[in-house]
Amino acid sequence: MLSTLAFLNPVFLAALALLPVLWYLMRVMPPAPRKIAFAATRFLHGLVPEKNVPSKTPWWILLLRLLIIALIITALARPVLNPAEGLQGRGAVRLIMDNSWAGAQNWDKQQRAAQELLAQADRQNREIYIYTTTAPLGEEKPRTYGPMVHNEALAIVKGLSPVSWPANYEVLLNVVKDKKTDNSLDTIWLSHGLAEQPISPLISELQRQGSLTFIVPTPENLPQVIRPPLSTGAVSMELNDAAISIEVPSTIPQNFATSVKALGENGITLDVQTVELTPSKARQDVSFDIPDHLKNTVESYKLMNRKGAGAVFLLDAGSKKRNIGIVSSEENVETAPLVDAGYYLKRALEPHANLSLGTVKELTEGDNSMIILPDVAAMSSASLNALENWVKNGGVLLRFSGPKMAESINSGHLLPVQLRAGERALSGSLSWDEPQKISPFPNTSPFFNIDIPSDIIIKQQLLADPAQDLEGKIWATLEDGTPLITASALERGMIVLIHTSATPDWSNLPISGLYVNLLKRLSHLSSSAIGQTNTNYENLDPFLIIDGKTGGLIPAPATVKPLPVKNAQKKLPDSLHPPGIYGKGAQSFAFNIGVNLPPLKTIKNLPVGVGLDYYESDYEIDLMPYLLYAALLLFLVDWVVVLAISGLLSGLNLKRPASIALVALILLPANNAYAQSEDDLRYAKGFHLAYIRTGDQALDQKTYKGLEALAEALKTRTSVEPEGVIALNPATDPLTFFPIIYWAVSPTQDSIDSKSFENIQSYLNHGGTIFFDLRDQSTRKDNLANSPAAKALRKLTASLNIPPLEPIKDDHVLGRAFYLLSDFPGRLKDGTLWLQQDITNNRDGVSPVIIGSNDWAAAWAAAARTPNSRSRVTRSILTRQNELAIRFGVNLVMYSLTGNYKTDQVHIPHILKRLGQ
């Protein structure tokens, strides 16, 4: 493709016409001669040189100089390479950034195009609006920005990033409609190329407001998505089955190859497969060739060379095969398959698990996460003990009832509930009861949301003895309320009992699809112990979410809402429920965008008047800086040449640093001056004691005096020389400059806004220390009393992220940072200090928060006044306590400044001893 050149200020090119004049002028004016002081000047009089060459500038120097001038003139004319087509219209410009999941795949192109458009809008002095198509995390509406100028818009464009869920065009339409425009708004939609939903209402609304142009990726760059396999519809790790499928829009070129990789633990690539897609077969299955033992470790699939949520497909525990052991009869008796429990279990579990049959001993020694114990008669005590230990170590034991269990209820051993002896026959010849159906699973059951076919009837069951804790152990009941499935934890493991048999003797459950679903769900439970049985299974909590830009997993922020189990399978991710890993207890659920996404459609059949353009590979390049650089270089060349001509170059040796410095100065870009407020400068120059202004005048006054007295004490006693005392407003003042901040908590404390919280949190996170003083002795060794100040403190710190605090230990470094202190009295003396101890992070052992309640500021202030006190007795008492308070203050400041330095001093004798050896 031929690149084109255009000038933005072509007027300047007229100045090129002046070049011949300059040529003439430069030819006439010779360069200045060198001057030499010469004793024999007298002898030169009247000497006429035969040649007169250098009196005129050599033609090539002239040419060089003309070139420099021509370059500067051309630069002023602002040449651009590949000039973009001008923006339509004259009014404000609106850019729509397609930041939905598909946007990630061409995000660089979108951003580059946006920046280019912004530059054009800037040159035309037009107002800029920026719209996004998709709501950010935790918000309902997509964001809009503007009107604004180029720089702000540029910052916003650079700050935007794609999300991991689809756009909602209905909401977007409302947002667009909300924009009341007097003038026309020229819209450029930087699209990812897909119409995620019917787009025509949006187009007509945008057209109504002004012109509209779409910029879309070229066909080979259209977004792709990983979906579940076409054949089975669900992702599985089963042999010979397709693992996933890949879908692309049908407008791709013929034989379009794309690659996908299977990633295992820690992101290692297990296999890469390439498929060729054609417009007629735009979605195709992909099978991977992964060894059996590694299949369970596959954690996700990822499209190569693509980014974002669509290019990732996460797997959850449900798609992994578990090792499940089924205890078979210890004596190897040949039984008819249709009456053997193992047969039904095998048929139900085989597709989802690696099954092994064996004795209890074999199975507990093997690598099984669940052991199924069908109706077995009494077991040897060795087997029972082995099984019990296995459960206690985190195994899941699934037991089925049956005739044998009904006969030998061995005192509830390895059972979740006490059973009544003998089975309950519901449709026997001696029974009045009708066979019972299963009632819907409660939301406290892990089976919640499994559909129960209506034709399942239970004819016989074992009944649980009513007990107080029975209710919490029930996972499923019959319609009459009697338990069908019960479970309880045993140390780290769990025992689940199904109160009917694993064979169709007692019910038709084992020959229903529900049986398969129940066992499948149970097998996922077996990933680890659940710990508690009465968990609410209605919602799945977010664990990790997919980062919309990279497709990587990040911890779910608090704004992500739990995912209702009910429609999790059919739901499309949105801004409140981004794709990722959700779960409850040991259950995990991979929420993928590819599962329920409608087929990919490109934007086509655009109405008349809507422009369509493609992201281009070659972008507009402003040549001005390059031309100016070239001019500068040529200027330097000219300089050197002139020096050479006048013979100075031999004298110009590189020992002269000035010339090098000059060159360096020319080549170095100028540094940006960094402005800082005067206050900041003052705070940074010296150490200041600081306190938080509470709004209580008297209290603030007292704190100020106390800190002043402490500063004085520090100055006279230690090498810490505080410059002064500063009162801070956490909302507006920078806290960074103060190693420790004193905060006298008042019950009437002003409420603190969110900006202050941010400021304080950032201060704490970056090494700052806040010393809260409740001033009422309310901090005790065992708890924080419920005093008004304590309440105020709780209110203050509710939104702060503070590590767990504990009462100060006897040997804490606060007691020896400068003075040796055993307790820390202030005006009062019964309060204990609470702080974070055993700090392992890089805070140098300094707790971010120290809470005390002895009203030290008052004592410090008093210490300054004490010498004037009249009563001798009070004076001496006060003096001692105030002196200790001052000492504590000194220690506190030392602690905040030196951290664990003094703690480390303890080891010095040992270190010295070792060094001596």
Binding site: P30, P31, P33, R34, K35, I36, A37, F38, A39, A40, T41, R42, F43, L44, H45, L47, V48, P49, E50, K51, N52, V53, P54, S55, I645, S646, G647, S650, G651
Partner: protein, 288 residues
């Protein structure tokens, strides 16, 4: 700024001492030649004991000789009555010229030459002094005084001043300079000098630039008091003419000296100082 001044001052002091050092070195070189024999020999011409008479200086009494006899002798040297040597060096700015090719400026080269001679003379017990002061001496101190004066002389003289100072009778003038002044001025001055000095050694010190005009490009030449300037557009084309002119000037200067029965030596600053001194050596021995 201060440190710069300081180092400059140190450099100046270094110049004098280094010149003194070099001069002494060159002087030793001269003496190891002809002068040494004078000390060991007891030639009649040279040593003479004379009976002390009241008109003689008591410090001249040779006590060892006197102790041998009943008479008191003084040790009298015939040459002592002879000339005093007065040194002069051109002091105007032009003497500071130094091209890239040379180690010393003209002033430095001239001072080394003069001081070497001075050292050689005090080693031969001759009286030396500055041309401008009547005071003479025979010690290192005298040499130092001459050196200091030459390096710090602010009189900006191109030729010896004949008005302010009249040397004692029978004095010898040893003058170093570039002698690039107008030949008529020089002749006039020499004629004046001839009346006051017994003999003279003229050492013309020139920079190779001044002899060969090795420049390139377009140069504006200017003399040191800015009274005269000449713009030369293309130096190579005038080089030969200039060389001829300088050569002619030098020859005329030499002729002028010979006409006065003086000695003339040309020293190029890029030349070897000891070689020039070897040339001078027979000239000064001539007079002893």
């Amino acid at each position: 700024m201060l440190s710069k001044l300081y180092s400059k001052a140190e450099g100046e002091a270094g110049t004098l001492s280094s010149i003194m050092f070099k001069a002494r070195h060159h002087a030793d070189h001269i003496i190891s030649g002809g002068h040494a024999s004078r000390k060991s020999g007891m030639g009649e011409n040279f040593w003479q004991f004379k009976e002390y008479s009241p008109s003689d200086r008591p410090q001249d009494i040779d006590w060892r000789q006197s102790a041998k006899t009943d008479h008191v002798f003084i040790r009298q040297k015939e040459w002592q009555k002879a000339q005093k040597n007065f040194f002069w060096c051109a002091s105007y700015n032009g003497m500071d010229y130094k091209s890239n090719r040379t180690e010393h400026s003209k002033r430095e080269a001239a001072s080394i030459l003069l001081l070497s001679l001075a050292f050689a003379m005090i080693n031969a017990d001759e009286q030396i002094g500055l041309y401008s002061q009547r005071r003479t001496g025979r010690s290192d101190q005298s040499v130092l005084r001459i050196g200091e004066h030459i390096l710090n002389d602010k009189h900006h003289l191109e030729l010896p001043d004949t008005q302010g100072f009249i040397p004692p009778k029978g004095s010898i003038l040893i003058a170093a300079g570039d002698f690039l002044s107008d030949l008529k001025d020089i002749e006039h001055r020499f004629n004046d000098l001839k009346a006051s000095v017994h003999d003279a050694l003229i050492i013309q010190v020139l920079d190779p630039d001044e002899i060969e005009l090795e420049f390139s490009g377009r140069v504006q030449f200017e003399n040191f008091d800015h009274s005269d300037s000449e713009l030369i557009d293309h130096i190579p084309s005038v080089q030969e003419a200039y060389k001829a002119r300088i050569k002619e000037h030098n020859e005329k200067l030499k002729a002028l000296c010979l006409q006065n029965d003086w000695s003339y030596v040309l020293h190029r600053t890029d030349g070897d100082i000891s070689r020039t001194l070897q040339t001078i050596k027979p000239l000064i021995e001539l007079k002893e």
